[in-house]
């Protein structure tokens, strides 16, 4: 098993992309866009990520897919009723609909999103069945043997000299169940370092031992880092 020329990696019919997405059949799945996170920060962070998010999402369509699924937490938070808070969501949806189909799974941050999506004829779905996979956000336990979830924002943090670097990653967890965890699509989120954080946010992941979790780090391509247990050991060895 190894990386393809374009940096992608295929496991069991699922293609992992360096664009922080996976492809199943003719559909790509991304998760945790957290649009509008800048505006919901208590400060004056300017609008920063929308352009990069749209560019990255457009690149995913270049792989020849027809549908893009956003697997939850498309919008960061809806606390204030500021009209321009919706700008990022509208902008993203409109750009995607120009190229292909868009489906959206509800996440824990997605209050009030249904209204705005309805205007574009898009339903805010609880879960989506695709091939033999169930696509859910992952903030609550669900039934299903094969799941694709988000919510966790997995990443790994490495040191080189006196600097440390964070790489988003996919997790592939398997026991009697199989769970594929997507990294956060938003470039602004810190991510949760699976090497040094031992508890998962998603209740779905609690049944997996670290030896049952495979790590796939993302940089210019997908790097297969082996299982989490061994990876933690190797990193301690230096």
């Amino acid at each position: 098993m190894g990386m393809e020329g374009n940096g992608t990696l295929e496991i069991d019919g699922v293609i992992l992309l360096p664009e922080k997405a996976i492809i199943i059949d003719d559909t790509a799945i991304i998760s945790d866009l957290h649009l509008g996170i800048e505006q919901s920060m208590p400060g004056s962070v300017p609008r920063l990520q929308i352009r990069e998010i749209v560019e990255m999402a457009e690149k995913i369509f270049d792989y020849g897919i027809e549908t893009l699924i956003v697997n939850g937490d498309m919008k960061h938070e809806f606390s204030q009723n500021m009209p321009y808070e919706w700008d990022d969501v509208r902008y993203f949806v409109e750009r995607m609909l120009e190229i292909g189909k868009l489906r959206v799974v509800r996440g824990n941050h997605d209050n009030y999103l249904a209204t705005i999506l309805a205007k574009y004829g898009i339903e805010l779905e609880r879960r989506i069945e695709l091939a033999d996979w169930t696509i859910v956000h992952g903030h609550e336990e669900v039934e299903g043997k094969k799941l694709v979830i988000g919510h966790e924002h997995p990443s790994i943090r490495l040191r080189s000299g006196y600097s440390s670097y964070t790489y988003p990653c996919f997790l592939r967890c398997s026991n009697e169940r199989e769970v594929l965890v997507l990294p956060a699509f938003s470039p602004m989120l810190k991510g949760s370092d699976v090497l040094s954080t031992f508890e998962f946010l998603s209740p779905i992941l609690n049944s997996f031992s670290s030896a049952a979790i495979e790590v796939y780090a993302i940089e210019d391509g997908i790097y297969e880092m082996g299982d989490l247990k061994k990876l933690r050991e190797i990193i301690e060895m230096r």
Partner: protein, 875 residues
């Protein structure tokens, strides 16, 4: 006759001053004192005449009364006529919260005595109120102050900026007669002072009459610049100010002591043994000794070792800013009451808290600046005409040379020049928000006010507008307003506040000192071992080894706001001590040491002079003991024999191999701040030239580059690397992805109110919980470029405040007139030794993110293959 600009003051006769005083005050004064002290002779008369004045004089010289006597006179006069109103007449601002209560006491005592005197004479006086307001003042007292404002109001810079937007209290601040700013020297050089200078100009705006400014400062140079900082500008011209320079009136006795005769022939154990012996002897021979170390950790270490020698009951204690407030107060009290024989402090006792009788100050290691040396030594011999006695105990050969030059300069009163930060945009952000809360502004009106503050005198309109646009949220790529703190109409050029939340946001986030969230460090057994800064915790990766309170720990995992560790002995830390407390050597002093080196070289190379002559020369001209003079001559002679002596006329670069890598030591004696800038640029260029990563080590005396095996630099290449051309551009590129950039960016982002540390009473760490600081930095660069105010200020702060860009470039320009000498040596020369043993402190990376993950990936693949082979073999 009208005086002009900044002028030197003069001493007035006692009789001239007495004539001005109210009879009650005159009588009280004469019953207490025989004469006015020098600062009083300079200041009181001028303040009476309504002239701004800057007083520079040592502690214990009656400075407080010099500043306040005019106020007391005015208030007593009004009180006797029953004309005292409910408003603030005098506002006193000090950066030291601890000093505020002392000042109140020092004013209440004379007032009590004067009231007694008045009562005996049957004169009725209205009560004069004194109020203190800081962040610690209770709600009840605050309300009282708002209802009935104190006549003398004592506060801190931060509280002043909050009072300015308080709708009620600010109304009693519109007819201030005297504004007294204490300890100016402690703030002029940092952003707290910049912040204060803008607050003062905002206060000036709401004045209905003349507000006389009185500044108090310790020894500092040049006073003209501090005076300008105090009074600011009006209509583009600096306001008038009189300088009362009485800083030289206190005699000093200062001497260098070397604990050993030859630092190279003694082991480090025996040096440290003799060092503590020397300290113990000094302590025993005097009544009360104050020892200054340069770091907090050294303070504890010295107390621990001295207790071992002097007995555990010997009255000696530590005093530094990491100790709790109660402990510090306890130590101060014991000191004042004469219960202690010795106190060991880092910087916390440098400033003006009254510490009672000290007869000896010991400086352990170079204080790195002449001003600081004088300030510290001035803490002994509290009375004005008493001699201040200081002993500088040196810790190694370079320290000995440095302190020899330093004491000589201090005796000759050649001071370092201060450096006032120029127009920091983050501090400006806070004030623009504060101003917007006060009222609606036109751009020109606001700019005029801001430019009247000395640090902002050169602020351009473009810079100002870019900050307004950032705060208004115009920086959005679609030119839409996003989440502005203020509104700004660009075509009409007016701005004002937006939203009701702005006032509480301002209250909770004003200030310039980055207060960090502390993360608890816990062992896996659940034992608490201490705290680290949040930023530090955030950069830890699995497997990292770091030092905390002298012990070594391995980072295992994070859990909520805690980190879990295990203690490991003898492992090399993988995380640098970024948060180095090291004081940098001042550039001016560095240049004098360069000259001293030449002086030594000339003596050593003169055929007529021998070893003894050189020793005699040093003893005579530098007031050294025989052993110290011999140690210096030997040190220079060895360097001279081994390689060359670097001087102000010769720039020496030494090259040698260490474990295969090529080491280049650059003997640029210009202080670590300037060295830090040059070393990064040179390392960056060397990395580009040789296509490799370059490790660097920096100290005050120079810097070292470490290149991989066989990456050798020729002399021509080195000269090329030292070119002043494109220096700033290369420095910006060398800073990419460094910890210093990340760290300073976070601080500036908080100070610019981009990321709030406190939002509506909830202190939550946005950084730790959500934000990826690296991406934030990257996206800001990508979307708005390096001129975005928050980023622009980050680079300015790093290059101008943390590093010394100006002098770095100055040095490189001077290289053209210098001899540049490259010496290839078999091992580090005596002068190179201290830089060499530092080890690498930072690295200018040429490799990118890809390389790091790839090398780990390859390691894993190799391990998997090995295991597979092992498995196959066992079958």
């Amino acid at each position: 006759m009208r005086q002009k600009g900044i002028v030197q003051g003069k001493e007035y006769e006692d009789s001239e001053i007495e004539k001005l005083l109210h009879p009650l005050l005159r009588e009280w004064f004469k019953s207490k004192f025989t004469s006015f002290t020098p600062p009083q002779k300079y200041a009181i008369y001028e303040a009476f005449k309504g002239n701004n004045i800057l007083i520079s004089s040592p502690t214990g010289s009656g400075k407080t009364l010099a500043a306040f006597l005019t106020t007391l006179n005015m208030l007593i006069d009004l009180a006797s006529k029953n004309e005292l109103e409910d408003r603030v007449y005098t506002l006193y601002v000090s950066p030291l919260k601890a000093l505020n209560n002392d000042i109140r006491k020092n004013l209440e005592e004379p007032l009590e005595e004067i009231y007694e005197l008045a009562e005996r004479k049957g004169i009725k006086l209205q009560p004069i109120r004194i109020g203190v307001r800081t962040g610690d003042t209770e709600q009840k007292e605050r309300q009282q102050q708002t209802r009935k404002p104190p006549h003398i109001f004592i506060t801190t810079p931060e509280t002043l900026s909050i009072i300015l937007v308080s709708p009620k209290l600010s109304r009693s601040l519109t007819r201030i007669k005297f504004l007294i700013i204490d300890e100016i020297h402690a703030v002029a050089e940092n952003k707290r002072g910049t912040h204060l200078s803008l607050s003062v100009e905002r206060l000036q705006r709401i004045q209905e009459g003349k507000m006389v400014r009185i500044g108090l400062s310790a020894t500092i140079h040049p006073l003209e610049e501090v005076a300008k900082f105090l009074v600011g500008f009006e209509n583009g011209r600096e306001r008038d100010c009189i300088i009362a320079d009485v800083s030289f009136s206190k005699p000093i006795d200062i001497k260098v002591i070397s604990p050993v005769e030859d630092f190279f022939r003694e082991s480090s154990e025996s040096i440290s043994e003799k060092l503590y012996e020397t300290l113990a002897d000094l302590i025993k021979s005097s009544k009360t000794t104050l020892i200054f170390t340069n770091t907090r950790s050294a303070t504890e270490r010295v107390v621990y070792n001295l207790r071992k020698r002097l007995g555990k009951d010997f009255p000696i204690r530590a005093h530094h800013s990491s100790l709790s407030k109660n402990v510090r107060l306890e130590v101060e009290d014991e000191l004042k009451n004469g219960k202690l024989r010795c106190v060991v402090s880092s910087t916390s006792l440098e400033l003006g808290i009254d510490i009672g009788y000290i007869d000896l100050v010991v400086l352990l290691g170079s204080p790195k600046s002449i001003n600081r040396a004088l300030q510290r030594i001035g803490r002994s011999g509290h009375k004005l005409h008493e001699v201040s006695v200081g002993r500088v105990v040196v810790v190694d050969q370079d320290d000995l040379v440095e302190c020899t030059v330093l004491t000589n300069e201090a005796l000759n009163r050649r001071l370092d020049r201060i450096k006032i930060p120029q127009k920091p945009l983050d501090v400006l952000c806070q004030h623009i928000v504060g101003m917007a809360i006060e009222k609606k502004w036109s751009v020109d009106e606001a700019l005029k006010l801001i430019r009247s503050s000395y640090p902002y005198r050169n602020l351009t309109k473009d810079e100002f507008i870019s900050v307004l646009k950032y705060l208004a949220g115009h920086s959005d790529f679609e030119k839409k307003r996003v989440y502005g703190k203020i509104w700004f109409d660009e075509s009409e050029e007016v701005f004002g506040r937006r939203g009701k939340l702005l006032r509480p946001i301002y209250y909770l986030n004003v200030g310039t000192i980055p207060d960090e969230v502390a993360i608890k460090v816990i062992t896996k057994e659940g034992k608490r071992v201490g705290k680290v800064e949040e930023e530090f915790a955030e950069r830890l990766v699995r497997g990292d080894v770091f030092v905390l309170a002298g012990r070594t720990f391995r980072f295992l995992r994070s859990k909520g706001m805690n980190i879990i560790v295990e203690e490991v002995e003898g492992e090399k830390p993988t995380v640098p001590s970024w948060f180095s407390e090291q004081l940098p050597l001042s550039y001016d002093l560095a240049l004098r040491i360069q000259r001293f080196r030449r002086e030594m070289e000339e003596i050593l190379n003169s055929e007529l002079l021998e070893f003894e002559d050189a020793v005699y020369y040093l003893r005579k001209n530098y007031n050294l003991e025989r052993s110290s003079a011999e140690a210096i001559v030997r040190y220079f002679r060895e360097q001279n024999l081994f390689s060359f002596i670097p001087t102000d006329k010769r720039f020496l670069i030494e090259n040698f191999q260490d474990e295969g890598s090529e080491c280049y030591v650059f003997h640029s004696l210009i202080g670590r701040r300037a060295n830090s800038a040059i070393s990064r640029v040179v390392a960056f260029r060397a990395g580009m030239l040789k296509n490799c990563s370059v490790k660097i080590a920096i100290n005050d005396n120079g810097f070292m580059l470490k290149l991989p095996y066989r990456k050798r630099l020729s002399k021509e290449e080195i000269i090329e690397l030292l070119s002043p051309e494109n220096f700033v551009d290369h420095l910006v590129r060398a800073l990419d992805r460094t910890e210093i950039l990340r760290r300073r960016f976070r601080h500036v982002a908080v100070r610019s109110l981009m990321v709030l540390r406190n939002y509506l009473g909830r202190e939550k760490s946005v950084w730790r919980q959500q934000l990826n600081a690296d991406s934030l930095l990257r996206l800001i660069k990508k979307n708005f470029g390096n001129d975005f105010p928050v980023l622009k200020e980050t680079y300015r702060e790093i290059m101008e405040d943390s590093m010394d860009l100006e002098n770095a470039v100055d040095f490189l320009n001077r290289l053209r007139q210098m001899e540049i000498r490259l010496a290839r040596t078999p091992y580090p020369s005596p002068f190179a030794l201290n830089i060499f043993v530092l080890g690498e402190e930072d690295v200018v990376l040429m490799e990118d993110r890809k390389k790091i993950i790839r090398s780990l990936y390859e390691k894993i693949t190799r391990l998997i293959e090995l295991r597979a082979e092992a498995l196959a073999d066992s079958k």
